[in-house]
Symmetry: D2
Subunit: 287 residues, 4 copies
């Protein structure tokens, strides 16, 4: 044959799963979007139209719902492990990858206290988890993170000393707004795959470090901000092996009010979304 | 002439305005998307290609930024009044309508307290304000609200006793999830247009009533929920004349686990977004 | 009671309906998103939690699918009439409004000719139809149109002679790019509600007039463009009573290349989407 | 130091570039969204806040516009080569990656012929090109493709013989609708990087093969469809080294009309977008 099959994977995406755990009138809610993807011995399905080894993606969807009944959904990393291990046990599967997005809900605060059974969506940010389990007793990897995390600082950010060439018109600035709607991910090392690791606490700790460091640091560039924030996350949790941040630089340009006889002293800005800078870097423990 | 000009309006949309008010190191942030629309004597621009009375939409954008410098931006309703009154003063304008969407930011909480200058986007919900000012000393109307308010109750919601016909297959249920990503708007009466009305407090009060009532009430239908919530908002603020709610009913269907030998006791749901119910109703004070 | 119910409507939105009509191996495809909304005697459902007169939105969805079987789907206006008349016949309904968006598909062209059963999505534009039928033998209205129609002219567009005030910085220009991703709607008068009117032909004719006139005319402003295009559509079809166009002005700014020692002679532009002008006007037959 | 910098890249994304080439009254239009990303010696910018080697992303944007003036924009692959080679020539750059999305426009057809200067957006599909140039005389890679290609077949698609386990409820079917809104990419080998290769013709040929083969083949699974389509593309152009397709399986479920006393003979379907299958495979020449 002239051609051969290269990399391939398939699965079910956008499985919307909401679970309610009821302890009397107190209800716990988890709201997930789950993607399942399998790699393995699927060449015949591609090359020969032979489906005998194909687990239908409809079956994957059913399996996710059935597993959610059997394993009350707690941290997405834990449920991801359940699902990925289930599929990795099939003989034709060499690797099962489960990606989970958790949509955050906060209890509604009422004069009588936090509602036991009513919730409001919290924030545009989405919690991420990706669990990959290799078949035949192979390795497991667990990554976590947050996407669409939208933060802004009104000061303690500058950008000076960059290269100037024939196409450079940007002025240096010692004080600018910095804003992003970005993604941060990190990998948990072996301690986390042991039973009993508290993924919710680890996620909260990493997110707290991210936000506090973002708030407190002085930024000479988005690149340096990533380094400072990522190292703060690594400092706080030895279970985390590396941190990756992909941050659009959502420019907020100071509006030139001089044509209208006004002076803009850092008061009026236009927020833009395109074009935007895009800074992507990983910080890891030195091996 | 065979044809005539009917209703018409024009303006600038999606003016992105971010303002920072600096009191020493403590910064206040407002983040708005502003739309300006004008109605008036613009027939010649349409019918005759005569632009003499046309205020360019680019000029509208500039004006919004210049006014933001002169009138530090507080509640969107107040800034909307400034902008709408400015344009309504032009002789060719019969009505200026300014729509403002405020994107919420919360100060980042750090171990050292709330950050004075760093913020995180709060919630998917957007605060709305629409101010309309008629030219030549005419009337002013002020509407406020919230869009993309995403709430969910895991119980205290049912739907029974509805009409059954040949195409009805929906089972009655006394206990279901109810969820929406909806819009609520309300109108402020004359007290609110007087100087000194606290629009931020009024908005917070209406939103608190909305959320608390949503959490506490028992819902026999989305229609009744709107009535109950809207009357609670009206009860709490005599300045509000009417409340309108447009609520998609984002169905969360219980997953049938019987084929897998499992019983689903209100634990596992599939969240859907299409198709969805859409309930739109206004509740007003009896005149 | 202190409060009363104001305007209200409810229904099912985003009903996704795809129909295939099979004539041997030659298949016709229609792909619609249908919204149904009812107005009528629904006060008890709001005020008293009494659902007896409520047609469940789930029933509406079922009805649309059942009617699609009985009435093979042709022009969306015709199917909209079928659905709206069905619901308007219910005694509690005073008005049924059915909105249909048709997603366009073109047959795939192959060396062997147009495929009888394979299709590719054509264009971002969506065909619109809105049919409203009043209950108890009342009036019917039929509107049609197109949304997300994205067109651009590289010349024959200018903008001069507009008002200049303290906030005006825009330069006059006799030659600019004009572009929009807009909506046009129009109403069919009594001839169209008679059986046998060819809605597909009428829609194609209006769209052809819109595109050709857009291409050929000289535009002194978006406002004038709407007048010129709308009158061309009205000229071409006496069944059309009015035309409304809502056109964002998607600015394409000439890039200033002077800092790089280059002269931009109408060659290099930056396309923007926010802020944008928004021009909304209706042209109707003089009564 | 405890930590080290891992993979990193940065650049400017969403640079919107529209170019007009004027030959008398006949205008050619290219509409691109360009992303530039650089890899190289940027450790100091991350670790030490030292920007001396940083090419500002604002400068990248300016450069793209300046290069567009000097090199009239033809096929996106060619312009991508110009931009990538420019940045790869900087000493601190080890690799420059330029991704281009071309938004398609067709001339408006009028009774007088194709308009010389007026255009309508054609299709939701976007042409893709990604050019990567290594610094210091290194390798060049050129990939091309199409995203959001939306196609549907009403027959000649089935899915039988797949694995059945405890969670399988999907029925086998010999005749179903198959639909996708997918992405296809392919790599050009050495012949294409030589001057004079006609990238527009190669792209049109690959797209024609894709569409025709999709229309004509019988599909036993999405996996097999990818194999059949990809090998047809490879057959048609020896310059193409591999083809990758990432295809969501947008399920169109036959509506059960039995509860309404009707039989659905492949006439009425509900289109869904979530959950969806997702099939990702690469087919390459056997080495």
């Amino acid at each position: 044959m002239t051609y051969e099959l290269g990399d391939n994977r398939y699965g079910k995406s956008q499985i919307r799963l909401v679970t309610v755990r009821r302890r009397g009138e107190h209800h716990d809610l988890r709201d997930l979007t789950v993607d399942v993807a399998l790699e393995g011995d699927f060449a015949a399905a591609h090359v020969a139209g032979e489906n005998a080894r194909v687990i239908a993606t409809d079956t994957m969807k059913n399996t996710v719902y059935a597993l959610a009944k059997d394993h009350p959904v707690g941290p997405p990393e834990v449920f991801g492990l359940v699902v990925a291990r289930y599929f990795a046990a099939a003989p034709q599967v060499s690797r099962a990858v489960v990606t989970l997005r958790e949509h955050g809900w906060a209890r509604i605060e009422t004069p009588a206290g936090a509602a036991p059974d009513a919730f409001v969506r919290s924030g545009p940010a989405t919690r991420l988890a990706t669990v990959a389990v290799a078949g035949h007793g192979g390795e497991t990897s667990i990554e976590a993170g947050v996407e669409d995390l939208t933060v802004l600082k009104t000061t303690k950010s500058g950008f000076v000393g960059f290269e100037r060439d024939a196409c450079t018109t940007l002025a240096e600035t010692g004080d600018r707004i910095i804003a992003t709607k970005g993604t941060a991910t990190w990998a948990y090392g072996p301690p986390a795959t042991a039973r009993g690791f508290d993924f919710d606490a680890a996620h909260a700790r990493a997110l707290e470090r991210l936000l506090t460091t973002f708030a407190e640091h002085v930024s000479p560039s988005v690149q340096t901000s990533i380094w400072i924030i990522a190292t703060a996350i690594l400092d706080a949790d030895p279970a985390i092996e590396w941190v990756r941040m992909v941050l659009p630089n959502l420019h907020h340009w100071s509006v030139d009010l001089a044509p209208f006889g006004l002076e803009n002293r850092g008061e009026v800005f236009v927020a833009t979304s395109e074009p935007h800078g895009l800074i992507d870097a990983t910080v890891k423990r030195r091996s």
